[in-house]
Structure formats: C-alpha cells, structure tokens
C-alpha cells in the first residue's frame, strides 16, 4: 500500500506539469558480454500542451526512449509515469487500457487497416475501446486533417500524405494525454512532409495536444517547442525552439564529438 502511493506523491512533487515523466531510465538488450546499453539513465518530463522533439543519430537510443515512454517496452531500470500512473508492475491488459486512454500513435509507415475506410481507420481506437465518437468532434477532426471528402476512401486509394493525415487523426481521436510520433515524415517526400509537420504543429497549438516526436529530420525538429538531443543512451542537450539551421549545427556538433 505504502509502496504504491510513494511514487505517485513523488511524481506530483517533482513535476506537477509533467503528463509523462521518466526517471533514470536504463534499457539493456541482451546478457553478459554481448549486452548493449541503449539507454544509460535518462530522466525527462514531457510538458503539457507542448511539442517535444527527440533527436539523435542512429543508435542514440531515441526510439527506445519513445517505446518505453509510450508503454510499448519496459525499462531495465527506472520509472515511467503516464498521467500520474506508474507503469512498473502493471499487467499487459492494464497497460493496454492505459495506452488506449492516454496515448496516441503516429507511425512512419502509417499502419492503416487496408479494409477499413479513412473514417473507420480514424475511429478505430474508439471502436476498439467500445466508445461512441462525438459527432462534432469527429467532423472537426476530419476537417482539420482535410479528409472530409475522402472519408469513404480506403488506404489504397489515398496518397502517402493523405494516409499519414488519417493516421494523425487516428492518434488524436481519443484526445489522448500524449501523442507519440515515430519519424512521421520518414516515408514522405519533402513537400508532403511540410504539410504533415504543419498539421502536427497545428494540433498542438489549436488543441493543446501534448506531443512527442522522434525524428532525425532537422526541419521536423524545428517545429518543436523543445528539442532533446540523445547520444549514446543519454540526453546530451535540451534546446528550446530553434531554426532548422541551429538544429543542424547542434547535430553536427554532436556527431563530431
């Protein structure tokens, strides 16, 4: 009983504004000599209503960090809180329900269901949770992502950018505590990427949607309110909003060291 309450109090004291928080996270893959340390002690608060970008070279641990904060993976040590709940010790079903309620995802490869229409794909998280979508909210959302006239199309009939718009709407539909985007522009051309980034920025500004985006695209990072640089499993730099040039410079600095 006592053990369960302590971290919650701790979290509240430490970071009242943090909707997602990680404390001293490590993640080791493998055993013994061949073990790889992907994260070596990362502590991080995600600020509510802000867009946080996580950058870093390949192998820096940025994807691992996102997976752990999004409750897709478990840390080797350390603690993760999502909306005040500590993840350690939760069962798979409890974690699934927590993801359902608090987390939205945008994937690099869209991951839409081919047999569902755009609108059905958008509503999927609610359908799975057995909830009814709010009519007005559904229309707002479709309008916001510009799919009002494409709602009955299936993914195969949509362009890559349109598919990613569907995916973004799907991430937003349940009004999650936080949306995680994993290289959302990684599979798109530059013009389409710009549209998608604009859409993501807009969801933060107009809806106050807390968002964490993992990317290695400096132009993507440049739309963020805060940019975290990861290298070799540690946060090496915490940068406020910056221009693409500054981001590139920061990255260069990182790779040269």
């Amino acid at each position: 009983m006592e053990a369960a309450t302590v971290p919650a109090v701790d979290a509240a004291e430490r970071a009242p504004a943090a909707v997602v928080a990680a404390h001293d996270i490590t993640r080791r893959y493998g055993e013994g000599d061949t073990a790889v340390e992907a994260l070596r002690g990362v502590t991080l608060d995600v600020q509510q209503g802000k867009l946080t970008a996580v950058m870093g070279p390949s192998g820096s641990g940025k994807s691992t960090l996102m997976h752990i904060m999004a409750a897709l993976d478990r840390p080797t040590s350390g603690t993760v809180w999502i909306a005040g709940t500590q993840l350690g010790g939760l069962s798979d079903t409890q974690i699934t329900k927590l993801r359902r309620k608090h987390i939205g995802f945008v994937f690099q490869f869209f991951n839409l269901l081919p047999m569902l229409t755009a609108e059905e794909n958008v509503l999927l998280p609610l359908t799975i949770a057995g909830e009814k979508p709010d009519e007005a909210w559904r229309e707002d959302l479709l309008k916001k992502v510009g799919l009002t006239d494409r709602r009955t199309h299936r993914p195969a009939e949509l362009s890559g950018g349109q598919q990613q718009r569907v995916a973004i709407a799907r991430a937003l539909v349940s009004r999650p505590t936080v949306v995680f985007a994993d290289e959302p522009t990684g599979n798109l051309d530059s013009a389409t990427s710009a549209e998608i980034l604009e859409l993501m920025r807009d969801s933060v500004d107009s809806l106050g949607q807390t968002t964490v985006m993992v990317t290695h695209d400096p132009r993507a990072a440049a739309i963020a309110d805060r940019i975290l640089f990861l290298d070799d499993g540690l946060i090496v730099r915490d940068m406020p909003r910056a221009e693409p040039g500054e981001v590139i410079a920061a990255m260069d600095e990182l790779t040269q060291n």
């Binding site: 997976h67 079903t93 699934t96 991951n111 047999m115 799975i128």
Partner: protein
C-alpha cells in the same frame, strides 16, 4: 535451385508441417483401411485354414446355392454312416466327422445370452480320433466327454468370468442346458472378434444341434504316398448329390469366400471412399495453403528472378517443395494408419461389427498405394500455386507492397467458374434423374458431377464471400464489438482465400447434410412401413433382433392362457425365378399381427396357401409378369424342388416389409427345412400391452434365453436402430474430412496472422487487449467456418433433393431435418473456435514492439 527450394522448406518447418497434416490424415485413412481389412482378412484366413489343418480332403454338405441376398446358406448335413464307408477306403489313413452350428448360444451368469453382435456363436464337436483335425487348442482343462461337458472359448471365459468346473447355459434348440466347463480353448494366434465358440463331444453336439445321426463335415488324412487327386476320386463315388469333397485348402478358401469375402470387400470399399473424400478435402487445403505461402513469399521469388532464375525454375522450386511435403506427409500418414486401423475397428465394434483379427498385416501394397496416392494428390494440388509463383515479376524484389499480376487467362476466370458449375449441376441432374441411361453411366455421371460440383462451388464461392460475411458476421459484430467488426472485415479482405478455406469445410458438411437428409428419408419411409404393417401387441425375436430364432420359441407361446393370435414369420432361403433369394413363410392367422392391403385376394390368402401357394407384392408380380395361378418353382438349399402358384397379391409399403419376394405357408416351408427359424413371432394379448401381459410372455419364453419379448413400440424401435447406427458410422467417417478442413482453417489463420503481424502490432499499440485480439481471430475463424457450413448445406440439400427425388419410388421422401441442421451449424461454430485456438494464441502473444517493426 533445388538447394534453395529445400533450404526454404527447412526454414519454414511449421508451415510445411501444417501443409503436411492435410495430406497425413487422408493417407492415414487409406493405410488404416488396408491394414484393418488385411488384418481381418488374415484373421479369417487363419481361422478357416486352421479349421482344415491336417485334412488333405474334406467332405461337406453341398447346398443348391451358397449365398442368398449376401448371407451364407447353411448346407445340408450328411448321414453318419458315410464316415464308416470313407474310413474303409484304401487311401485313407484317418477320417473323422464333426457337427457344427453357428447358433449355439452361450448364456452368461446374468441368465442372458452372451451377445455376439452380428458375429456367429459357433458350436462344434470333437472326437478323440478327430483330435489331429481340431483347429483349437486347450489353454486349460480337458476336452469334453459325455453329455454334461463343454469347452468354451478363452475370450468368453475371460469376459464373463467362467472357469473350469463352472456350469454354463448352452442353447441351440429348445430349452437351455446347463453343462459343466471341462476346459477352455482358443484359436491360436487369432482373435475371433465378437464370435463365441463352444465344443462338445459328438453325440452331445448331434443331440443339441438337432442333427441326430448326422455329420456336417468329414475330414480325411490320406495314407503316405496317396495324392489328394487320387483320394478325391476314391471318395467321389460314395457321395450323394448334396455332398461334395474338396481338398482342405479349397474348402478353407470356399468357406472364407462365402462367409467373409463379402464383408471384407464391402468394408474396404466403404472406407476407401471416405479416404478419398478426406484426400479430396486435403487437396483443397494444400492448394490453398501453398497459394497463401506463395503470396507471402513474393519478394523471395522476385529476388530469385532478379538473380537470374527462370520462371520454370521458380515453378519447380514450388513443385519440389510440394513433392517433399507430399512424401513426408504420406510416410507419416502411412504409419499413422496403423493406429487409425485400431480406431476404425473400435468404431465398427461399437456398431456391432466385431470381426476376427489376426496379427497386424502391413502389406507392401498398403505402403505403395499410400505413398503414391498421397504424393500424387499433393503434387496435383501444388500445380496451380506453382504456376502463380511464376508470375511474380523481378521488380517485386524492390517495391513495397507489390501484388501478383493477373494471369492472362484471368479474364476468362468468371466464365470458366460458371461453366464448371453449370456442367457439374447438369451432370448430377443427369446422373440422378435420367431414367433412360444404364446404371453404370448414371453413377459415373453422378460421381463426376458431384466432384465437379464441389470444385465449381469453390471456384464461385469468392463471389458470395462478401454478402455471406455481412450476414454471418452480424452476430459477431453485435456480440464482439470492434474485434467482431474487424474479424468480419478481415474475412472479406481476400475473398478468394476465405472462399477456398471455407470450401474445404463445405465438402465435409455437404456430405454430412446429404447423409442426414437421406437418412431421415429412409427412416421415415421405413417408419411408415413399420407403423402401417405391425398391429400385434407383442413381438418375439432373437436378442439381436435380426438373426432368426428357432421356431420352438414361437411355438412355446401357442395355447398359453392369455396369449392369442400367435403368428410366426419364418425366414429361410430358396432359388426361384432365376436368383437365390430369401424366402419367408407365414401362418393362416397372419392378419392378426400384420395389416396388409390385398390388391388380389383378401386376408384369407395366408390361410389358403396350403402346400402349393404363395403370395407376392404388386411390384414383384408386375416385374416378373405373374398373374394369379402362375407357377413358380422353388429350390431349397437341400436341392429339393417344389412348385407353388400365385394365390394373392398385396400392396407392399414403399419402405419395405418383413416378407421376401415370395411368401409361402409355414406348412410347406417346414416340410423342406430341417430346423426352421422365425424372423419374428407376433402375438396379441387381451387388454393390449400391460405389465401383466409382458410378464406372461416372458414366462412363456423363459426356457429360450435368446428370445426377446418386445411390445409393439419396443419392436419398432429395435427394428429401426440399425439405421441410426449406420448413420452414426457415416458421420464418424465424415468427421475425418471435417478435421482435415479444420486443419485448413488453422493453416489459413496462422499464415494470415503472420502476414498481418505489423497490423496486429498497431492494433495492440492503439489499445486492443490480448483478449480482443484472440476474439478477433476467433470470430474470423467462426465466420469462415460458418461460410463453409452455409455453402455445404446448400450443396448437401441440393444433392439430397436430387437423390431422394430419384428414389421416390422407394418411398424415400425429401425432408430437411431442422434440428440436425441446427446441430451442424453449432458444429461449424465449434470447428471455428477450435481452429482459432493456435492462431489466436500466436496473435495475442506477439510482442507489440517487434510486431510494429516487422518487415
């Protein structure tokens, strides 16, 4: 290229195994059939050849005909005086006689006859001099000596708890006799199945079997240097026209052919037919599984093509893979057949067919046929998928999400599918309905038509997948919510795949539905007849209902106070109008027990038959151009002939009757039949069926352990029981095909789960619980199997409607048994649930993170 194919196969062991299971079961059925029937055959061979061991020649009774309606006919006995004449012949070293019967009932400790199912209860005699010919061996005790002793078989002694020194009831004719067990014997090296046997000394046997001064066989051993042909020619002049002498080997072969040949080949063809169905279903499953695997391996094929592999090489790599799967599956099936043979035998024993068995026979023919058929079926099933693989373009190696280009024949696809279906329907209709054709071509048209029908329906099935899924998936949606909706949509994602998965189940369910409707038709026609005919309060038959009972049992009822209208229907056989037939005989008061509609004559006909009359059914009279007064010559098994004239014609119900084509009086029948037997004895009691009346009849039959007193309702029920047993046997055999199609559904789902790994990862990531994932897979499985059931039932109802229409002259009506259809639907749901167990577990266990990153 061969190495690539083989290594690829080794890398996909689970998939290869799943594919192989589809063929393993069909091959196991072939191998099991051969093993079982060979083992039974060897059991009979051992029994019959041992029966004449040490006998160079054997003299036996010669019936005018050996079998009537497939049943063996008991040959006439010979006078004992013949033995002395034989013993005096110069070439004879040793000759001994024996008497035999196949209706010597043994009575258990509970006072009831020990049931043999349909197997004989053998009785035979031994003499001291004849011991070298004795086929059995004592396991304990001594051979019987004197009127008070008997030796019984080891299985019965063990099963019923009898020991040497105990007394056991033995009954052939008249009341049972209590004899002391002097010993226990066995046929070495062979199980006699359900049969029992008892051995008596010769005078006791003659008396018990009602064969005083008579013998059924004389076994002869020749003096050294006398060849069988010489011995045969010495014996022949001494024999009458109803006796025949053969070498021991020839006699053994003849006994086996008349007594066992029919049932062995019947079982073999019956079981092979079901093996064929299972293999046909298996071919569907293999073709479908390979098609899915090939779609999933497009990138691999494309890479091979970019590396310079030709289309032909790609095709061969698939065919080689199928060949290896076929061979391995056939070998596994071959050995699984050894176990299946035991299971099949248990199935037959359960419905009362308990046949002798020697040691297990694993013949070369079994191996060759099983391996060849299994491998060839797999190869044939692989042809279409292999051709598809050749259409994978090299560019698919570098492009994400390529689809197979359509074949240049694709535009003719719908037309071809429809043509196949139309031809199939035409052929089945011709086969079932065209009365002008001979039976052979009709059955051929029907057979090919039905096979084509299955293929045709499956080819067209993809078109009805969407509407069917909408209907069948509706409950899933209501009950299952999101997983239910997704399951339904998943089922329609690849209609061709779902259609061919469902088609495998369709075949089994079509046949099950057909059997159910056809069986219900036969049963209702039979019930009609039974209800119409039998008006007596009580009936007495033998305990197994169908073996005729000695006429004494019926006579015991006559003249008893409180029992009226005792009327017996005798059963025997005779040759008349060019064929060997059953022959029944009745008594003047027949109309007290059986209600008949006379088209010529009246209820007085049975009383007017006398020593020269018969009656027959309207149809038989018409078919044989008989009219009142037409003479017919009857020849009895003893060879004696008599002529009878038509004195009455009756309207036999379509469902049949207890009467043979020709029915004479018991008076005439008994004159030509040494030990008459009754098919049934009917009787009325004042006040109808009451407990007191039942007790009265039981008391009258007390001395006849084999007699079963039944009320009219019980009797009708007993008469109908075999139909249900046969239907249950057919269902059990068809279950194998359903299991094969269940394996097909498992295959498709496992491959589908594999294919949708990333999608499942996404669903889990956006909040689908493991339970919901399992539900989704399960619903998809149920929707697929319900589709198979729906298609199968339509096909089954169609076939049943055709066949019952064709047989409507036999009174078989077409009626869909609603309750059974409901059971079949439930069975399909169960199949779906079972098929989903493994795939659902796999899907639910996927690691979300790995699944999301899965390429």
């Amino acid at each position: 290229m061969l190495t690539v194919a083989l290594k690829g196969l080794a890398g996909r062991k689970v998939r290869a195994l799943l594919t192989a299971i589809a063929i393993i079961l069909g091959v196991a059925m072939i191998s099991g059939t051969y093993v079982l029937t060979d083992t039974i055959n060897s059991g009979f061979n051992t029994i019959f050849s041992r029966s004449y061991q040490n006998a160079d020649v054997v003299i036996s009774g010669k019936a005018a005909f050996d079998t009537a309606n497939g049943e063996s006919v008991e040959p006439p006995s010979m006078p004992q005086s013949l033995l002395a004449k034989i013993q005096k012949l110069p070439g004879v070293a040793l000759a001994a006689g024996s008497v035999t019967t196949d209706t010597l009932k043994l009575i258990g400790k509970d006072g009831k006859v020990i049931s043999t199912g349909g197997a004989p209860s053998l009785g035979f005699s031994v003499t001291n001099a004849g011991q070298p010919f004795n086929p059995t061996k004592l396991t304990t005790g001594k051979w019987p000596h004197g009127p008070d002793q008997v030796v019984i078989d080891k299985a019965t002694a063990g099963g019923e708890g009898f020991h040497v020194g105990d007394r056991i009831g033995v009954q052939a004719f008249g009341a049972a006799r209590q004899l002391q067990i002097s010993g226990i014997a066995e046929f070495p090296g062979v199980s006699v199945g359900g049969a029992t046997f008892a051995i008596l000394d010769q005078p006791t046997a003659q008396q018990l079997f009602h064969k005083p001064g008579q013998l059924d066989g004389i076994r002869v051993q020749s003096k050294a240097g006398v060849k069988p042909p010489a011995l045969l020619s010495q014996i022949r002049p001494l024999l009458s026209s109803t006796e025949i002498v053969r070498t021991g080997a020839a006699q053994a072969k003849k006994d086996k052919d008349t007594q066992a040949g029919g049932i062995i080949s019947f079982l073999r063809y019956l079981l092979l037919a079901f093996a064929g169905v299972a293999l046909f279903v298996g071919a569907f499953v293999i073709a479908n599984t390979l098609a899915i695997t090939i779609a999933q391996r497009m990138r691999e094929f494309a890479t091979l093509r970019t590396l310079g592999a030709s289309r032909r090489q790609v095709m061969w790599s698939v065919v080689v893979e199928a060949l290896v799967i076929g061979i391995l599956g056939s070998v596994a099936g071959l050995f699984l057949g050894l176990g299946l043979a035991k299971l099949l035998n248990a199935l037959f024993v359960a419905i009362g067919i308990d046949l002798p068995q020697g040691s297990t026979v694993f013949a070369t023919r079994t191996v060759v046929v099983s391996l060849l058929v299994g491998t060839i079926v797999t190869l044939i099933a692989s042809v279409r998928p292999a051709r598809r693989a050749t259409r994978v373009p090299p560019i698919a190696a570098v492009r994400e999400g390529s689809v197979l280009p359509v074949s240049r024949w694709a535009k003719y696809g719908p037309a071809t599918s429809l043509t196949v279906l139309v031809v199939a329907i035409a052929l089945t209709c011709i086969g079932a309905l065209a009365s002008g054709l001979a039976t052979g071509p009709r059955l051929l048209a029907l057979g090919i038509g039905v096979l084509l029908l299955f293929v045709g329906v499956s080819m067209n099935a993809s078109k009805v997948v969407r509407p069917l899924a909408a209907v069948l998936g509706a409950p899933a949606q209501t009950i299952g919510g999101a997983p239910g909706i997704l399951a339904r949509d998943n089922a329609t994602r690849n209609p061709a795949r779902t259609a061919s998965t469902a088609s495998a189940l369709m075949i089994g369910l079509a046949l099950v539905t057909f059997v159910a409707i056809f069986g219900a038709g036969i049963r209702s026609s039979f019930e009609d007849a039974v209800n119409k005919l039998f008006i007596a309060d009580y009936a007495v038959t033998s305990t197994n209902t169908f073996t005729p009972i000695e006429a004494q049992a019926g006579k015991a009822l006559v003249g008893r106070p409180g029992i009226n209208d005792v009327t017996a229907i005798r059963a025997g056989s005779a040759r008349y109008l060019g064929s060997d037939n059953d022959l029944t005989a009745v008594q003047p008061n027949l109309n007290k027990g059986v209600e008949m509609e006379w088209t010529q004559g009246s209820n007085a006909v049975p009383g007017e038959l006398g020593l020269d009359g018969f009656f027959a059914s309207k149809n038989y009279v018409k078919d044989h151009h008989l009219s009142l007064g037409s003479p017919v010559t009857l020849q009895f098994p003893s060879g004696k002939k008599t002529t009878v004239r038509l004195k009455g014609v009756w309207d036999e119900p379509k469902g049949g009757s207890p009467f043979s084509h020709i029915t004479i009086s018991t008076q005439l029948f008994d004159k030509f039949t040494p030990r008459p037997r009754d098919e049934m004895v009917l009787a009325n009691t004042p006040g109808g069926v009451t407990d007191a009346n039942t007790a009265r009849l039981d008391a009258a039959e007390k001395g006849f352990a084999d007699a079963k007193v039944q009320t009219r309702d019980e009797f009708k029920h007993n008469f109908e029981a075999p139909i249900n047993k046969i239907l249950n046997l057919l269902y059990a055999l068809l279950a194998l095909s359903v299991i094969v199609s269940l394996v097909g559904i498992i295959n498709t789902l496992v491959l589908t789960v594999f294919e949708r790994t990333r999608e499942l990862g996404m669903l889990r990531a956006v909040g689908m619980t493991r339970r919901q994932v399992r539900m989704m897979i399960r619903y998809e499985s149920i929707v697929t199997s319900l589709m198979g059931a729906a298609l199968g039932m339509v096909v089954g109802v169609f076939l049943a409607a055709l066949v019952t229409h064709a047989l409507s002259s036999s009174g078989i009506v077409f009626a869909v048994p609603g309750l059974q259809i409901v059971y079949f639907v439930l069975a399909a749901v169960v199949v779906g649930i079972l098929a989903a167990v493994i795939p659902a577990r796999r899907a639910a266990r996927l690691n979300v993170l790995e699944a999301l990153q899965y390429e």
